[in-house]
C-alpha cells in the first residue's frame, strides 16, 4: 500500500532521512517511532507530497507518488496533525465536510457522511456540528480532526503525533476510541509518535528510526521480544517485557478444563480480557500461582497459571 524505496531527504546540508527502505502492510497500523530529530515526521510528509525526497521514491498503491497530482493525492489520504489545524472560521460541521466538498460530492451524500463520521468519533453532529473550534476542548478538537480525516473514507491515514497535545487522561481515552475505530474500519495507518507506550498500545508494526535511519521494522511483539540493537532495547525501555505482556489478553494464556468451569467464581477471579501485565501484578500482590478467569456473565472460563505467564515473559530472553 505504502512503500519507501531508498528515500533520502536533506535539510540544508544534513540528511534528515538516509536511504529508508520500508514497505507497509495493508490495513495495519504502522507506528513511526523514534526520538525527536529522527526524521519520522519528515518520512510521513513525504507520502502526501508535502515534502519531496532528495533521492528515492515513495509508492502509494504501487504508483510513485510523483505520478499523482499533489492535491488529488492528498484528497485521497487522511491527514491528522498534532495541533489539529481546524479552520477557526468554519463550524465543526464545515470542517469535517472539507474534503468531500473538495471532491465535489453532492450535498446529501456529504451530510450523511458527516453525521456518520462524527458519530464514529463520539461527537454527534446534532450537538457539535454548529460549534466553532474555539469552543471545543483539546480532546474534542482532536476528535474532530480525526473525523475530518476520515470524512472522505480514504484507505490511508497519516497521523503525526495526533494525541500528544491532549491531556494524559483524555489521551488514554482517545487512544482507546481510536483503536476501536481502527478495528472497525481497518485503514492503512502511518502513525508518528515518540511515546513508546502509545506505540505499543496502538501499533501492529513499529518502525524505529534514529537520526534518519531505519533501525528496526517488525511486528510490535517481535520488536519487544527481540530488539535488534542495544539502542532499540534502551528506547523501548527496561519494562519492554511488561509492555509486551500488556498487549496480550489473559484469555490467550488460559487453560480450560479446571475445577469449577462454568460456575460463578468462589475466590477472586480476573476478567478474561485483562492484559497479562495486570495479571502479573495480581500474582505479585496475591502470591498465588493460579487465578480463575471470568467472562462478562461472571462465569469461569479458564485458569491462568503463573508458570505459563513467566514462561511467556522469558521467551524474550536477555537484551543483546
Amino acid at each position: 500500500m505504502i512503500a519507501f524505496e531508498g528515500v533520502t531527504h536533506r535539510y540544508g546540508a544534513t540528511a534528515a532521512l538516509d536511504g529508508i527502505d520500508l514497505a507497509l502492510a495493508e490495513q495495519e497500523l504502522c507506528i513511526l517511532l523514534g526520538p525527536s530529530g529522527s526524521g519520522k515526521s519528515t518520512l510521513l510528509r513525504l507520502v502526501n507530497r508535502l515534502l519531496e525526497p532528495a533521492c528515492g521514491r515513495i509508492l502509494v498503491d504501487g504508483r510513485d507518488v510523483r505520478s499523482y497530482q499533489p492535491e488529488a493525492l492528498r484528497r485521497t489520504i487522511g491527514y491528522v496533525i498534532q495541533d489539529v489545524g481546524l479552520f477557526p472560521h468554519w463550524k465543526v460541521w464545515d470542517n469535517v465536510a472539507t474534503v468531500p466538498g473538495l471532491l465535489g460530492w453532492e450535498r446529501n451524500r456529504i451530510a450523511g457522511r458527516v453525521e456518520e463520521v462524527m458519530d464514529l468519533v463520539g461527537l454527534p453532529a446534532r450537538t457539535y456540528g454548529d460549534r466553532y473550534p474555539h469552543q471545543l476542548s483539546g480532546g474534542e478538537a482532536q476528535r474532530v480532526g480525526v473525523a475530518r480525516a476520515l470524512a472522505a473514507d480514504p484507505p490511508i491515514l497519516l497521523m503525526d503525533e495526533p494525541f500528544s497535545a491532549v491531556d494524559p487522561l483524555g489521551r488514554h481515552r482517545i487512544q482507546g476510541e481510536f483503536l476501536e475505530i481502527q478495528r472497525r474500519l481497518k485503514k492503512t495507518v502511518l502513525f508518528v509518535t515518540h511515546d513508546v507506550d502509545e506505540a505499543v498500545r496502538l501499533g501492529d508494526r513499529i518502525a524505529l528510526l534514529k537520526e534518519g535511519r531505519l533501525v528496526q521494522y517488525d511486528r510490535t511483539e517481535v520488536l519487544l521480544e527481540a530488539p535488534a540493537t542495544p539502542f532499540v532495547g534502551e528506547f523501548l525501555g527496561l519494562d519492554r517485557t511488561l509492555k509486551r505482556l500488556s498487549r496480550i489478553p489473559a484469555s490467550a494464556l488460559a487453560r480450560p478444563g479446571g475445577p469449577g468451569d462454568g460456575d460463578p467464581p468462589a475466590a477472586a477471579a480476573l476478567a478474561e480480557d485483562l492484559d497479562l501485565r495486570l495479571v502479573l501484578s495480581h500474582f505479585l500482590e496475591s502470591g498465588t500461582d493460579v487465578v480463575p478467569l471470568k467472562n462478562r456473565q461472571d462465569r469461569i472460563t479458564g485458569w491462568l497459571h503463573r508458570q505459563d505467564l513467566e514462561a511467556l515473559a522469558r521467551i524474550g530472553g536477555a537484551a543483546p
Partner: protein, 240 residues
Amino acid sequence: MKSGGWDWFSLAAFGGALALLVALPGLWPWPLYPRAPPLALLAQHMILVGLSSLVALTVGLGLGIAVTRGWGRVFLPLARTLVSVGQAFPPAAVLILMVPALGFGLGPAWVALSFYGILPVFGNTVEALLEVPAATRDAAQGLGFRPGQVLWRVELPLSRPLILAGFRTSTVVNVGTAAIGAAIGAGGLGEPILSGLVTQNNGYLAEGAILAGLLALTLDAGFGLLGASSQIQSAFKMEK
C-alpha cells in the same frame, strides 16, 4: 463595547447629517461657498478618495500576499522596513511633492493618495497573513487544498478583520489628505476650507470642515460595520 450597535448609530447619525446637509443647502444658516454646490464638492472628494482607495487596496493586498508566499518571503524584511519608513513620511508632504513631479490637479493628488494608502493595507495584510497558525495552513494543504484555495478559503478569511482595519485607516486618513489636495488643485471639500482661510470667511471654512468631518466619520462607521477591527487596535499593530 457593543460596537455593532454603536456603528449603526454612528452611520445613521453622521451619514444622515451628511446627506441632509448636502441635499438641502437651504439648511445651512449662512451663505455657502459659491463656486460649487456642496454635493459637487462632496462628490469630487469621494471620487478622489474612492479611486485612490481602490489602488491602495489592490496593490497593498497583492503585495502583502506576494511577500508572504514562499517565493516572496525573501523580500519580507525589506518590505517591512519600507512600510515603517514610508509611514514616517508626512502624508501632506507626499501630496505636495507631487506638484514638482507631476504638476497640479486631480491626477497627481490621486497618485499621492494611492501611494500613501498602500502602506497601511500592505502592513496589515502582511501581519494578518503571518498570524495564520502554521498548523491551520499545514492542515489545509494536507487535506488537499490547492495553494490558491488555501489562500482564498482559509488564509484570507482569517485575515479579513485586520486587513479591513488597514483599509479603514488608509481610507480615513486619505479623506484628510484629500482635503489638503485642494491646495494642489484637486478640488473637493478642502476647497471651501482653504478659500475660507484665505478670505477669512468663517462660513466657507465651517462648511468644508463640517462636511469633511462628517464624511470621515461616516466612512469610519461603515468600516466598523464591515467588520474591520477598531482603529484603536489596528493602529497599535503598526506601531511595532
